[in-house]
């Protein structure tokens, strides 16, 4: 009975996802404590050396790090179940509130970056595949290689510095505007970071598209369609690209999942208060609850994206639906 239940694909996936999340929780918990230092030394720096034992004990109890590790772990896990993600003493607010502020920033950035990456990557990949090893293929591949090899921080800093210094244009120098309270400024602030990220992700998408298109084009049904007199444009889009979508989708889903983890470097350079920065600050300050809960949320997002990608396969590929 139970075995049958677990064998059902959806249930099976849910159980696997829960297992993954628990694994992540344990891993992050252990890793954080393996890093030298604690919230006291992170806060006070070398000044922590001047604390008396009683002062240290008072601080340990304040931060809750005086309790045995298993107690810390299970009380955190127990709180999670009740929706309490913990408290950030640095920000003096709950991790849930912090995440409610930061997750939308990262989500918006991820969506915009992926859209830009698809807009750049797919046409470029098709262009390259349309005549392999020709000059146009070479140009497409060169752009792809540039996207892969130019580090995001370099592109980001260069864009920011040149635009600010030469044109005085720097929307990111203003305080971050949320989509709800300043949509126009918000979109301006998102433009450069999503361009930088989108350009980087366009490269693998372009390469995947090129390979997939070349692969599909060599198949029999394409020749048949062409023989039947399907117009070239319709052939390219409906038949070739349509069938090449599965690997492209896989790649897109994977990249999107990574983006939800927060593009830390880009968020830092463009001062976007996203989830990547939340984790980074948490690690720097050794705010265990912040890091543990946020990483778990990121892992959850990754799992959800994977699940959605799988569902999308069914939409775009009848063969998966049949299986």
């Amino acid at each position: 009975m139970l075995r049958d239940l677990i064998r059902r694909p959806l249930v099976h996936r849910l159980v696997a996802a829960l297992g993954t999340l628990l694994g992540v929780a344990v891993f992050v918990f252990v890793m954080l404590r393996a890093i030298p230092g604690d919230q006291i030394t992170a806060g006070l720096g070398t000044e922590a050396a001047a604390l008396t034992p009683a002062q240290r004990a008072a601080l340990e109890s304040y931060y809750g790090i005086d309790r045995p590790l298993p107690v810390q772990f299970f009380s955190w896990l127990g709180n999670l179940v009740t929706g309490n993600l913990g408290f950030s003493s640095r920000a003096q607010t709950s991790v849930l509130d912090l995440t409610a502020q930061s997750l939308p920033v990262t989500l918006e950035l991820a969506v915009l970056s992926i859209v830009l990456a698809l807009v750049i990557g797919i046409p470029l990949g098709m262009l390259s595949a349309s005549r392999p090893n020709s000059p146009r293929d070479l140009v497409g591949q060169a752009i792809g290689l540039a996207g892969l090899s130019i580090p995001a921080f370099l592109l980001a800093t260069t864009l920011l510095s040149v635009l600010a210094a030469s044109f005085g244009w720097n929307p990111n120098g203003q305080g971050y505007a949320r989509l709800t309270d300043g949509p126009l400024l918000n979109l301006q602030q998102m433009l450069l970071p999503s361009l930088v990220l989108g350009f980087g992700i366009a490269a693998p998408i372009m390469r995947t598209t090129r390979t997939a298109v070349l692969d599909v084009r060599s198949q029999d049904f394409v020749r048949t369609a062409r023989a039947k007199g399907v117009p070239p444009r319709r052939l390219q889009v409906r038949h070739v690209l349509g069938n090449a979508l599965v690997p492209i989708l896989t790649m897109t889903g994977l990249q999107f999942g990574y983006l939800l983890g927060g593009a830390v470097v880009v968020e830092q350079i463009f001062s976007l208060p996203g989830i990547g920065r939340q984790v980074l600050l948490g690690i720097q300050q050794k705010e265990y609850a912040v890091v543990q809960s946020t990483v778990l949320i990121i892992a959850l997002a990754f799992v959800v994206v994977n699940l959605l990608t799988d569902l999308l396969y069914r939409v775009i590929d009848p063969r998966v639906r049949a299986a």
Binding site: A42, G45, E47, A49, A58
Partner: protein
């Protein structure tokens, strides 16, 4: 004030590298000389935006050691005494004080008509409450040790506070001027203060978005001259290069950098950069309780084999000054008053021979990565210089958290460090180099001579006599070389056109935001 700089870590190295790359690219259109703060009378109004790399990690003034936290809190809270721009002690919430002839009783006369941000009046009960809490170990206040000499705190009336001391303490008045000695209202608990600052400073809290910004507004009921600025926003821009861009685009009007490379990129067009020598010092800490370093001759050999100017030139582009132990202007050590005023390899060899180590020694040295921009370069230069004297520095480069852990535990033979300085030399070094100092374990050296000298320094209030005593202490330190003091560096305060009246200070304080105005 704060020994460990732990604010500008993320991407500091990247920022430095990029700044170098951009130096070539950025065309410096015009460079204006610093004349901005001239003529026109300051007028009230304006919203100043300061670019900072991180959010304060606490709003509790008694626990704040991070630069960003100290800089914000300094403008919200008041202290009994204050520093003026030259770091001399001047009245703050106490208008005057009397010290008894035996030095054991200090009577503070409190300023009248002062109110906290919440509107309640400031009086002696608040002082007694604050000082008592700071002394209480359960509070975990970082300045607790500065009140070690205080035996009792009493308030004979609402405007008078009397401190009875166990021994004379000439450093007390300077120690009371730091923000970790902030006066809070006796009606506020620490839990409320963690979210809602309630001080007597020139500004009051306006609003905060964690990780993004903190905005202060003018305290209309401030006891001194009211601030000109309507608001001051500390805007978090984590990357220093991005702060430069935000200044160039006019979004940020003031920023303080400690990396000369970054500072150079901002000095274009209408931005003025002011260099300010700092009290903090770069040092090679030797732990005189460990291995070969217990022998003074080994330590002196190391001191003699180092050309401090060369370290400064290679690691920090020569941006700084070679220094002795004491960095505060009033007590500054003569950097050439030491056994080897300049590098002397022959003398170094002599010292090693005296120690019976002519074959050379190996010293394990910890170095922090990313804590401040010059650390690794300093370590590498020291290593190569010492190699000429058969002294091997075995460098252990650590992530900053790991470094702090080892440093705090005193778990090192030698450490390349950037330590914070204080205006008063007793506050600066007695905690390290007296046998009862709370950082003596980290310093690794004390002597009966130093204990006596520090006690004399505390018992003497005459400035000239004190200076003579601290010169002796400085010489003791150099003659025994527990540490090798290298150099002090600058901070670079960048201000946009139209911003005037700001005075950068050697302790890094932003207290003069209260005299800053915008046109």
């Amino acid at each position: 004030m704060h020994t460990g700089p732990h604010a500008r870590r993320a991407g500091a190295a990247i920022a430095a590298a990029l700044a170098l790359a951009l130096l070539a690219g950025c065309s410096s259109s015009s460079s204006t000389s610093p004349t901005a703060s001239a003529s026109v009378a300051p007028k009230p109004g304006g919203a100043l935006v300061i670019g900072v790399t991180s959010d304060p990690d606490t709003l509790d003034p008694w626990k704040a050691t991070q630069f960003q936290a100290v800089n914000v809190l300094q403008n919200l809270y008041g202290t009994l005494t204050e520093f003026d721009k030259d770091l001399a002690v001047v009245p703050g919430l106490a208008t005057s004080w009397d010290v008894s002839s035996d030095g054991l009783t200090v009577t503070f006369h409190l300023r009248q008509g002062v109110t906290f941000a919440d509107g309640s009046a400031f009086d002696s009960a608040d002082v007694v409450y604050s000082l008592t809490k700071i002394k209480d170990e359960a509070t975990a206040a970082v300045a607790r040790a500065s009140l070690a000499s205080v035996a009792s705190i009493a308030a004979p009336d609402a405007s008078t506070v009397v401190l009875t001391l166990k021994a004379p303490d000439a450093a007390l008045l300077a120690n009371l001027a730091v923000i970790n000695m902030a006066m809070v209202s006796s009606t506020d608990s620490e839990a409320t203060l963690a979210t809602t600052p309630d001080g007597t400073g020139p500004f009051v809290m306006d609003k905060r978005t964690p990780n993004e910004s903190i905005t202060l507004k003018r305290n209309e009921k401030y006891w001194g001259d009211k601030a000109y600025l309507d608001t001051v926003e500390f805007r978090v821009i984590p990357d220093e290069t991005s702060i430069v861009s935000a200044m160039q685009s006019g979004n940020v009007q003031l920023a303080v950098f400690d990396d000369p490379l970054v500072a150079k990129t901002v000095e274009t067009g209408t931005t003025t950069v002011t260099k300010t020598p700092q009290l903090s010092y770069h040092v090679l800490q030797l732990n005189a309780t460990k291995g070969d370093l217990t022998d003074v001759n080994v330590r002196l050999a190391i001191a003699c084999a180092i050309d401090r100017q060369q370290v400064l030139d290679t690691a920090a582009l020569g941006e700084g000054e070679v220094t002795g132990p004491i960095t505060s202007p009033a007590y500054r050590s003569d950097p050439s008053s030491r056994p080897c005023p300049t590098r002397d390899l022959a003398k170094a060899a002599n010292y090693l021979a005296k120690a019976g180590k002519s074959g050379g020694v190996t010293i394990k040295t910890i170095v922090s990565q990313g804590e401040y921009s010059t650390s690794v370069n300093e370590a590498q230069n020291l290593k190569s210089q010492l190699a000429d004297a058969k002294i091997t520095l075995d460098l252990e480069v650590l992530e900053s958290g790991a470094y702090v852990d080892r440093w705090v535990a005193g778990d090192f033979d030698a450490a390349v460090a950037l330590n914070g300085g204080r205006p008063d030399p007793d506050g600066m070094y007695s905690r390290y180099f007296t046998s009862t100092g709370n950082l003596n374990k980290v310093a690794g050296y004390s002597s009966p001579e130093l204990d006596t000298l520090f006690a004399q320094g505390r018992a003497t209030s005459d400035p000239a006599e004190r200076k003579a005593i601290y010169t002796k202490i400085s010489n003791q330190l150099e003659d025994n070389a527990p540490w090798v003091w290298l150099f002090t560096s600058y901070t670079y305060t960048a201000t946009a056109a139209g911003v005037s009246g700001f005075v950068p200070m050697a302790n890094g304080s932003l207290q003069y935001l209260r005299t800053t105005s915008m046109s």
